[in-house]
């Protein structure tokens, strides 16, 4: 039974570009949350998707957007990349009311 899978594992972009990260939730899970983890810090909540809608959002600008598909997979889009967007981006899936299972993340480097 596959857990949460994320792609790609690593990504290098330049300032101003746009990036799309992908997440497949653990089988049976219907809720997907995205987190940004800067080096040496804990993961910070970006937003959560449930039933193909954004349900909750953390303190991130509108440059960060997402989508959830009918099969519960999800994408995180970041526009107009800044150097400060360099981080590990984590996807977590869950059933409502249960703890989160995290993927291994996508390491994004913005040059």
């Amino acid at each position: 039974d596959a857990g949460v899978t994320q792609s790609p594992t690593h990504l290098i972009k330049t300032r101003g570009q746009q990036v799309t990260l992908r997440c497949s939730p653990k089988s049976g899970h219907d809720t997907v949350s995205w987190y940004q983890q800067a080096l040496g810090q804990g993961p910070q909540f970006i937003f959560q998707y449930y039933e193909e809608e954004e349900r909750q959002r953390g303190n991130f600008p509108d440059r960060f957007s997402g989508h959830q598909f009918p099969n519960y997979s999800s994408e995180l889009n970041v526009n107009a990349l800044l150097l400060g967007d360099s981080a590990l981006y984590l996807c977590a899936s869950s059933l409502v009311g249960t703890h989160r299972d995290f993927g291994a993340g996508t390491r994004l480097s913005v040059l």
Binding site: V4, T31, S33, Y35, G40, Q41, G42, P43, Q44, F45, Q48, Q56, R57, G58, L88, L90, C91, A92, S94, G97, T98, H99, R100, D101, F102, G103, A104, G105, R107
Partner: protein
């Protein structure tokens, strides 16, 4: 959201018990305490969750005193593979918007 305070780092040796205390003085009535473990370049992994008294599973124990203003994660007989960052989160049950603090880096030495 309840603010948590935990030590930045702890050192231990193989076979010892490691206890990490998290302070959460303004914990609310409906808040639960959840601990995650994270290895480098991996996502956090759920360890244990509790509301009061003691919770034990196959990997750890969680001790919560009656006033719930702190909690202690206990890792019995640690091995080198337990070297990781441990996060304490306090909030309503499985609140997904909870962000993680800096965590406690536990280093286990041979």
């Amino acid at each position: 959201l309840a603010k948590t305070t935990q030590p930045i780092s702890m050192d231990s040796y193989e076979g010892q018990e490691v206890n990490i205390t998290c302070s959460h003085n303004n914990i609310a009535t409906n808040d639960y305490i959840t601990w995650y473990q994270q290895f480098p370049s991996q996502g956090p992994r759920f360890i244990i969750q509790g509301y009061k008294t003691k919770v034990t599973n196959e990997v750890a124990s969680l001790f919560i005193p009656a006033d719930r203003k702190s909690s202690t994660l206990s890792l019995p007989r640690v091995s080198l593979s337990d070297t990781a960052v441990y996060y304490c989160l306090v909030g309503i049950l499985n609140d997904y918007k909870l962000s993680f603090g800096a965590g406690t880096t536990v280093t286990v030495r041979a």
